[in-house]
Amino acid sequence: MSLISEERTVRAESLQGFAGVEDYWALLKPRVMSLVVFTALVGIVRAPGEIHPVLGFVALFCIAIGAGAAGALNMWWDADIDARMERTRGRPIPAGRIEAGEAMVFGLILSGASVLMLGLLVGWLAGALLAFTIFFYAVIYSMWLKRLTPQNIVIGGAAGALPPVIGWAAVTGNVAIEPLLLFALIFIWTPPHFWALALLKKRDYERAGIPMLPNVAGDGETRRQILLYSLVLAPAGVAPFALGMTGPLYGAAAIALGALFLGFAWQVYRRREGETAERAAKHLFAFSVLYLFLLFAVLLAEGMAR
């Protein structure tokens, strides 16, 4: 085989994973991105003062791209773990459709572009917060905490909780108590949400060698922690109303949804064996998504009605 044909063979092999547009889209974790956009929108709408609708759109667009970039960097770093887990095996990198290095460059370029655009077009505080969020998710959570400690998602949850603060900062140029309460709400919501999933996917995490709480401390301790976090979450959800920052509709929704959340968490704590235990964890996981969505939807509705 001549040198030229050898080179051609290498090039041809590298083309095996010829990715489609949908693979690059999948790198951005669109489902996570949609939640980020939604909570950031609430931050924008709730903030006092006005932002031109075009600049509001730019802010949301940049936050979405920044979140997607963080997702791409996470997929690049975690490609080895993803390949061992059933839930993530089909992602573009472990499936061989996109090379890991390509995903890294894609993530870095989008990170830089989104932060620069948000800073130049909307405001530098919002841009700096977005940069911090990407850094926190990609470096602090993905590279450092995820494989190190069962508290990974507790601390890493800060990245997912920042979007409403970024949205608020995009409008006002500063940070106030209300967006920090929304930050706290998502931050406290994250552990029971992910631990419910971790109870269901324990074997997957074990195979991948990720020290999730059920794998390290056991199911019993995880159920106890879920209940404890839920006990803090319910009043944290009501706090924006209690401090007079929201209307009675939000207050009623937060009380009712918080009580339901506690009910589901109690079921997870109580039912420890067999199919009923699994069902309880599934219910809590599904309800946790609904809980956050409904609370933020009410905040959005109240903010738009002002």
């Binding site: 044909s5 041809a12 092999e13 083309l15 010829f18 990715a19 547009v21 690059y24 075009v54 077009l121």
Partner: protein, 63 residues
């Protein structure tokens, strides 16, 4: 699905060509979107005052 090699260099399969075409189209659409976005943002940032002529400052000449 693999690309073929030969005297003409790397030969892409039909699926790979289709995939490349779709990627190129996506890049073109993103670029067009960004052009429009930057244009609109520039207009918004300039604001309505851009059309107003500002009066030149009066200059007093002392002889």
């Amino acid at each position: 699905m693999n690309a073929m090699t030969g005297d003409k260099g790397v030969m892409l399969t039909d699926a790979q060509k289709k995939s490349r075409r779709r990627r190129s189209l996506a890049i073109a659409l993103v670029l067009a979107f960004l052009c429009v976005l930057f244009y609109v943002v520039t207009i918004v940032k300039l604001g309505p005052g851009v059309m107003k002529k500002t009066a030149l400052p009066e200059i007093t000449v002392i002889v």
